[in-house]
């Protein structure tokens, strides 16, 4: 047993240290870009799901069902391998020639659309938690439906679902690791690649795990402060 000498220096020794560092940035950039996309899409879908028109509701529901019930990895492979083939030939060549980081943007789009279905569900739960009186009061002040939604309901819903959003962002952050399968050099992939150079995968994967845990911890702390600051007065707060 333990016929293995640990060599933790692979984490910072050049050129591997620079690779690991770049991997962390790629992970962060990818998950943040995907998150922005997911929130924008998610709000749209959640709005569709409560829209008075039935066609919109069916559309919103279909999106959520499809994107939640297909594994993220399959979606990613579809966007990366299959989707470009559906485009006309000249668009394909244009995409492959001019988009410098095709895998990265594919990962952003795939992760964003997948996370959007989850965000939409959280958002819908937030909308459902708003008392009907808020709507009535807003209408009574003479606002139009779009104004009621935009000025009264959405800000309220945002403040209710901050804790759920934190969880979803962290899930998005962790799911970004799956983009390694299409060749994005984020931290998990970097840990794997450094292993193939050095045979010290145990150290690099441990370091990558610690990166995820540390960043998640910081995000949770930051969001906890935001949550406290923006809590709706009069509602029961988490952790007093």
């Amino acid at each position: 047993m333990l016929n293995y000498t640990f060599d933790w220096s692979v984490i910072w020794r050049q050129p591997y240290g620079a690779m690991m560092f770049k991997g962390i940035w790629t992970t962060l950039g990818l998950s943040l870009a995907a998150w922005c996309l997911a929130v924008a899409f998610g709000i749209g879908i959640a709005t569709c799901r409560i829209y008075p028109n039935r066609a919109f509701r069916v559309l919103g529901l279909s999106y959520v069902l499809v994107f939640r019930n297909i594994p993220f990895l399959v979606q990613l492979f579809f966007w990366y391998f299959a989707a470009p083939l559906l485009l006309p030939r000249f668009v394909q060549t244009w995409v492959y020639d001019t988009v410098p980081d095709y895998a990265f943007w594919c990962g952003v789009a795939g992760l964003g659309m997948y996370t959007a279905s989850r965000v939409a569900e959280q958002f819908r739960a937030g909308l459902a938690a708003i008392p009907q009186d808020q709507y009535r009061a807003a209408y009574a002040t003479g606002l139009r439906p779009a104004q009621v939604y935009g000025y009264v309901i959405l800000p309220y819903a945002f403040r209710i679902i901050i804790p759920a959003f934190t969880t979803e962002f962290l899930t998005c952050f962790k799911n970004s690791a799956l983009t390694m399968t299409i060749g994005v050099m984020e931290i998990t992939h970097t840990a794997y690649v450094v292993d193939s150079f050095t045979w010290h995968g145990l150290e690099t994967t441990t370091a990558a795990s610690l990166c995820y845990l540390t960043i998640a911890q910081f995000v949770a702390l930051f969001m906890w402060r935001i949550e406290k600051r923006w809590a709706v007065p009069g509602l029961i707060r988490r952790g007093g």
Binding site: F81, A82, L86, K174, Y192, L202, A216
Partner: protein
């Protein structure tokens, strides 16, 4: 490529091979759920324990595994086990072990919330009848808690089923890997990945509806 240019015969020609992968996917999922649930119940109980020596390690374990991606756990086990055994343990055992360790952390939180949903009077009544603490846990609390958490458990089983596709990364020939291999040979990405998506979609939707049904909701109508 338009719909007319698609050639779905590639699916029929390789159906047997891919079905074999789907079987393995089910095998992994069943082993992961059974092992993960057993270990998860132990962890969930540990997290409710008044003894610090049990409570803190259990909480640390749960937070640790919930904080890192599953794919990293798979690599980690894949690299770690040879260090201790001196040889590789094979792809399937390595994947199943990682799934059990990882999913147990999620099952533990479901178990914990289920147990906390049981009124405290049940525990007191158990104590009053002279049962020992472990007897109360096994005969009084757990049966009620399991019933309460059944919908969440079913929903998480669907998640585990979807997660099995990650076994792909260390080359285990489960469903997605086989679809990928067929694609490498036949170069029919659109048809094959659409097919894979449909298979997962049908199976997972059935699972989700079961979860909703157990929750006392009645299907699509409540979604709209």
């Amino acid at each position: 490529m338009m719909l007319s240019a698609m050639d779905f015969s590639v699916i029929a020609n390789n159906l047997g091979y891919m079905a074999g992968g789907l079987w393995m996917t089910f095998e992994i999922a069943i082993m992961a759920v059974t092992g993960g649930l057993a270990w998860g119940i132990a962890l969930g109980l540990g997290r409710l324990s008044p003894i610090p020596l049990i409570y803190y390690p259990a909480s640390f374990y749960i937070h640790f595994f919930r904080g890192i991606p599953l794919i990293l756990v798979i690599f980690w086990i894949y690299f770690l086990v040879p260090v201790f055994l001196g040889r590789s343990m094979g792809q399937l055992p390595a994947v199943v072990l990682s799934f059990i360790l990882y999913e147990a952390a999620y099952f533990a939180e479901i178990v914990r919330s289920g147990i906390q949903a049981v009124p405290v009077g049940q525990k007191r009544a158990g104590l009053a009848t002279g049962l020992r603490p472990w007897q109360i846990a096994v005969h009084v609390i757990l049966p009620q808690a399991l019933k309460k958490m059944l919908p969440a458990l079913v929903t998480h089983c669907v998640v585990v089923f979807q997660d099995t596709s990650l076994a792909y990364v260390i080359g285990l020939r489960e469903f997605l890997r086989r679809v990928n291999l067929v694609d490498a040979r036949e170069a029919r990405s659109v048809e094959l990945y659409l097919f894979a998506a449909c298979v997962y979609f049908i199976l997972c939707t059935l699972g989700s509806f079961l979860g909703h049904y157990l929750e006392g909701r009645s299907g699509v109508k409540d979604f709209l």
